[in-house]
């Protein structure tokens, strides 16, 4: 009797227990994600994944802020005011160690982009024009990232092509611990990727693509990679390698066949005021876009330069003095409060859209063409290309007529003037193996001299990487612990 009651009670309990204990009960899935294995199976998935690749290029330590800032701040174009928000002071003082968060962020963020680009490249979606376009864009993005890694963390190719490069990863492998590949291998990958990209991409600026069975239509504006943007990047890569012939061929292809024109003198100011990606094939070949809802907020490039934001970095006087009074580019620098305020990214207060980060412009390619002509003993064409830009920007300028090393100097100076505040200057000085006279402050002027043998010209491999990866531990860049 007693046992009957007890067993009945226990039975009731167990029945209740097991009936609600189904396996589904524990199998709760997140609301904002899908399992990796099934996430890239259709054309639409690749479209979404490429958006993610571009969005990850916008991260603060890549084109969101650090790279465009570094290229001027660690060269002779900008310095940080004494009254500042505390950011990039280490860059300004050439005081970087392997724990520096911004420098490490370049490495980390670049490999995040590479991880996402690899997923697109390695996906098994059946090819068609759209899929090839997306894969081509992924190849170009990967190449761009390896280019930035090589330029920031390795000895310049022109100084020593046999130096150590960075680890090459072409497929996701969570637990791998790769050592550094050689610089030659890295540049070979970059070149191969860009050539692949050039072949696969068939949509150009101003076209649009649509994904069948969806309502997705993408207008292929300057914020997506296109065929000639990949070629322009290839020209820059070859120039960085010192390979003048290949650089010239690539630049010529872009200048001749892309249909992208140099922005006119009259439209120059409006061009920089415009925060929207373009379909009209004016000036921009590729840029990383920010809009009103997707931007880095107070951590953005425009917030860093604009006095309405932090306004931390200002132009050096020697840069300002390189512009003639009639140079339309001088108006992008505004003297105010004793400093030379940079106004190249003026959309901080724009409620509709925010400034994008320019990566490749036709003017840059034209100057590459000028330099490669000059270096391959074709000075007449070099002058034509140089003056194409110089006279465009300064209507009252008669034009350069220099030659020899003076011509090269003029071209390099023109690059400095044209690409100021776009993160290019530092890498020009590096590839040309020139000493850097970094201005740390003005009034009084404090200089930091960075000669060509200075180990601080390249970033250290992040401490987190050397700590986690025994194979790279002994390959730290010289001068860093």
């Amino acid at each position: 009797m007693k046992s009957f009651k007890i067993y009945f009670a226990i039975g009731a309990l167990m029945i209740t227990a097991f009936s609600s204990c189904k396996k589904d009960f524990f199998d709760l899935k997140p609301y904002n994600a899908l399992p990796l294995e099934t996430a890239l199976t259709t054309e639409a998935d690749l479209y979404t994944a490429m958006n993610g690749v571009y969005a990850s290029m916008r991260s603060v330590n890549l084109y969101g802020r650090t790279l465009p800032i570094k290229g001027d701040l660690m060269a002779d174009n900008t310095f940080i005011k004494p009254s500042n928000s505390g950011r990039y002071l280490d860059f300004n003082q050439y005081n970087i160690n392997s724990a520096n968060t911004n420098a490490n962020g370049v490495w980390t963020s670049a490999y995040v982009v590479i991880k996402n680009a690899n997923l697109v490249i390695n996906s098994t979606v059946a090819s068609n024009a759209n899929v090839n376009q997306f894969k081509g864009e992924a190849y170009a993005s990967r190449a761009l990232m390896y280019f930035e890694l090589a330029r920031n963390f390795a000895t310049p190719y022109t100084v020593n092509p046999d130096a150590l490069g960075v680890p090459i990863v072409v497929k996701y492998n969570r637990d791998s611990l790769p050592a550094r590949n050689s610089l030659k291998e890295v540049y070979k990958l970059i070149v191969d990727d860009l050539n692949q990209a050039y072949t696969l991409m068939t949509f150009g600026l101003g076209t649009s693509l649509s994904i069948p069975n969806t309502s997705i239509v993408r207008s292929n504006n300057s914020s997506y990679f296109t065929k000639y943007a990949a070629k322009a990047l290839l020209a820059k890569v070859y120039m960085t390698m010192g390979d003048w012939d290949n650089a010239k061929a690539a630049a010529l292809d872009v200048v001749t066949n892309s249909g992208v024109t140099v922005v006119t003198n009259a439209n120059f100011a409006a061009y920089w005021k415009n925060p929207t990606p373009r379909t009209d094939k004016v000036e921009t070949l590729f840029e990383v876009s920010s809009d009103i809802t997707n931007n880095n907020g107070t951590n953005s490039l425009y917030n860093f330069y604009d006095p309405n934001g932090y306004g931390d970095a200002v132009s050096t006087t020697n840069l300002y003095n390189t512009y003639t009074a009639t140079d339309v580019r001088k108006a992008l620098i505004v003297p105010s409060g004793g400093y030379l305020v940079v106004q190249k990214y003026p959309n901080i207060l724009n409620a509709a859209d925010k400034d994008d980060t320019k990566i490749l412009r036709i003017s840059d390619v034209i100057l590459i063409l000028a330099e490669t002509h000059a270096r391959t003993s074709d000075e007449p064409n070099a002058l034509i290309r140089l003056n194409q830009i110089a006279k465009n920007r300064d209507a009252s300028f008669a034009g350069f007529s220099s030659s020899g090393s003076q011509l090269i100097t003029d071209i390099v100076n023109e690059r400095r003037k044209e690409l100021a505040f776009e993160g290019d200057r530092f890498f020009d000085l590096l590839r040309l193996n020139l000493p850097i006279a970094k201005v740390r402050g003005e009034n009084p002027t404090v200089l930091i001299n960075v000669p060509v043998t200075d180990y601080r010209r390249i970033f250290p491999i992040p401490q987190a990487e050397t700590d986690a990866n025994p194979n790279i531990r002994s390959q730290q860049n010289p001068g860093y612990l």
Binding site: F26, S56, S83, N116, R174, G337
Partner: protein
Amino acid sequence: MRRLHNFLSSPDNILIRYFYDRLRINIHIRNKTMTMRKFLLLMLCSLLMTAELMAQNRTITGKITDEKGNGVPNASVVVKGTNIGTTTSIDGTFSLAIPSNARSLVVSYVGMSDREVSVTSGSIYNVQLSAASGNMEEIVVTGYGTAQKRKNSTASSTTVGGKELENRPQTSVDQMLGGKVPGLFAPSFTGQPGANQQIRIRGIGSISAGANPLFVVDGVILNTGDLSRLTTTSNTLAGINANDIEAVTVLKDAQATALYGSRGANGVILITTKSGRAGKTKFRADVEVGYTNYANVPDAARPLNADEWLMLYEEGLKNAGFSQATIDASLVSYGKGAGINTDWFDLVTRQGQQQQYNLSASGGEGKTTFYLSGGYFKQEASIKGSDFERYSAAANFKHAASSKLTFGLNLNGNYSKQNTPFNGGLFANPTGNIAFLRPTVNAYNADGTLNIARTGNTNFNQGNYNPLYIIENNKYLLGNTQIRGSVNAEYAILQNLKLSERFGIDYINLNEYQFDNPYHGDARTVGGRGQSSDSRLFNWISTTQLNYNFYPDQEKNFKVDALLGYEAQKSKSQSVDARAEGFPATSPLLPYSTVASSVINGRLGASDYDFASIISTAQINYRNRFVLSGSFRRDGSSRFSENNRFGNFWSVGGAWNIDKEDFLSSVELISGLKLRGSYGTTGNANITNYGWRTTFGYGANYNSTPGGTFNTVGNEDLTWENNKQLDIGIDAGFFKGRLSLIADYYRRVSDGLLFAEPLSLTSGFPSITRNIGEVENKGYEITLNATPIRTKEFSWDISFNLSHNKNSVTKLPGGKDIIDAVNPFILRQGFPINQYYGREYVGVDQSNGDPLWYKDSTHTTIVNDRAQATREVLKGKSTNPKYFGGLSNTFSYRGFSVVADFIYNYGNYISDGWIFYLIDGVDPVQNKYALNLKRWQKPGDVTDVPRYVYQSTNGSSSFSTRFLYKGDFIRLRNITVGYSVPNKVLNSINLSSANFYVRGTNLWTKTYDKNLTVDPEQGVTAQSNLDVYLSKTVTVGLNLGF
């Protein structure tokens, strides 16, 4: 009678036969033998003749007091073995009609010992209960409804009675436990009312996962902690009015916590709310009002005034080699001669209000009892813009539908509103503004309006905003609506076999809204910003259990109590995050984002988790001398990976009441001596809901079109963290309970700790979370309760507790050090969590004022540039105290009483997280601490503060042992002086009780490091973060019972 017996033993009447057989076993009464039949007949006659007996009731009265002679309100007085009883009124008196054959009364109150009194003669019964916790008769509550006398418990737990929690000026009960519970470390870190509270029971048992204990209210496991998404800090427990709490029990060892399985590793805090007791309806009204102010801001941290700052600034420029002309021009630009001297500390702080009002009613008749209450609480902190307000109500009902079935309802609802300023380095943080803003910056314009200009050195050009403008024009609102409740039913299948079911819900609705004005502050460049986050968290839990107790042997020397149960819990949460910018420039400003022009965000997200478990426990008690107990729980959860979804958790414990042994039972000195021990396993499931899945996530959008990235590396083996704990304890009483001691030694090994094991960054992920770490905590806890003096009129009670814990990280991934990226800590095997790691400061070179550091731990070389010194493990210095606890003294003389509670802390080290900007000339445009006035000025000066140099680069203000302060302190947490109005007066005004008192909280603090720039309570990580100053309060209060 014979007929009755035949009827009862007739085999046809199965049900009655069943009970007949039952009663046959249960009639053993110690030392009294009686024939089975006679007793049976006696019992049944009693039952059958209840009606007649009722007419033969008699009324008894009396007063239940504690050892001080104070009446114990709400104590239960029940005729033993029946439901006939009542509760005492607020002065401890009672009146009860008892049947004429009632043999004894049982008087009980949670937190005090049961007393059994014979009532066969007399009509007035005054019973004194012993309140000292640790007394063997005290009822100890452990999980899942088990409650037993301390002398029979094998577990380690501490109970804090409701009396110590009511009418306190703290917003949540978890802020009231520090110093009262040995082993429980609960340092504050902010004075924001409604703030979250970190609690570490027996040390820090986890490094990356949550280390707070589990909270259970009336059997419902709650979602606790800071669940806000925009607000600086918040606490779901702030919704519970502590006046509705009957008692809080903290479960510490494995025997107590293993019943909570995968969630018991960090300890379990059980909260029981008040319920009604039968009797005449009693009302109670409480009022406490007063003011708050900042408790402890050290002089070293006083912000400089204008003259001091200008002088120091000038000195810094001179020492940096600037010309006098440059210096003079700079000084003028910074306001020299302009007569500006803004005292930001004075402008931003205030004396705040503290008020609370509570009203409750409890009563019931026989079968139904109820408790109803309502309360209002408001507290303003000493920083303007920081406050908390709460409206709460509670209703508890219990009904005995029949002798076998009882059911009940506990309901608790509340609404609280909180205004919470920012903390840390955010420019809108008012506490930060006090420290950073120069005294030469104008707070007001000449016309009396608030200054918001941003150019010029006498205006806001250094980043920080005008705090007065922010406080007036911005909003930082948190509204929190909570409903918690449970319905429970208990059915006695047999008298010793009970089936019960409890179904509970925990519903939290958070409404957060932040408005940044368009003119001055973070949203100036976007035309104003309104951000809101609305979260709903809904958690239901169902517990079904069978409790069975029986005597396996004839003599009933052994008693077995067993529990078998099943529990399922589902928790769903969703939030809408919205953001809009571009507000119209109206006057006055319209802060709600309905008027904004650009919608930036308006998204719905959700996250859920489940748990399901089988629970079981059993205890064997041999004549209250030996007790052996054990438990087993099997848990499954959606948080654990498929590979490791289910876990088994168990414990065993034993207790031996040595004082019952012959060789001790005659020793008068010892009133109780119990040796106990336990060992078991528990888990910590405070991990993310979906972290084990490898997923491709969305939301990485581009050109306002959807984008996705592979952003969660996952881990197919991820699961709970494991704990194994050994506890050995002694409970002893001496001098008839006038002195009691509880001592525990414990060793708690936590393994399978979640660690972000670094991956090569080239994989695209920085780390993968694995269960790989191991930490050990061992220590001891001592509680002493004594009543040194007890005379008719005067008594003095002391309660003292001391805890010692040693924490040590025993296993790290690959055995490698992990250096914290944010705080100056290192994780190294053999050292505690939060072990300090940094350079060692030597002092200042007397000859030239340079700061000096040791180059390394050999101390052979001294350098004057921090970059040349290496970081060392600063042995013996961590954020964990070596000893902590509390001391309570209670004095009472006639109707007056004085209660003084101290808390103390010894052996930990604190650091000022923001001193980098506030000392030396590294960042010369900020204001500085007054500590800078002690700087070196000429050769021969002996000081710790180096020469003040404009934009110095020697690293003197970066972390080193210079900024490591001793965290030792003693604090007078509470002092209350009160008076109870005597009965004579009460009778004439028709009240049952009245108490007046004056209370002070945090009135006095003694610290032991003269360099402290912050209060020594800075949370578990001990790094100050420019939070709202801790408050002290002075209040007067009145309790009335009627």
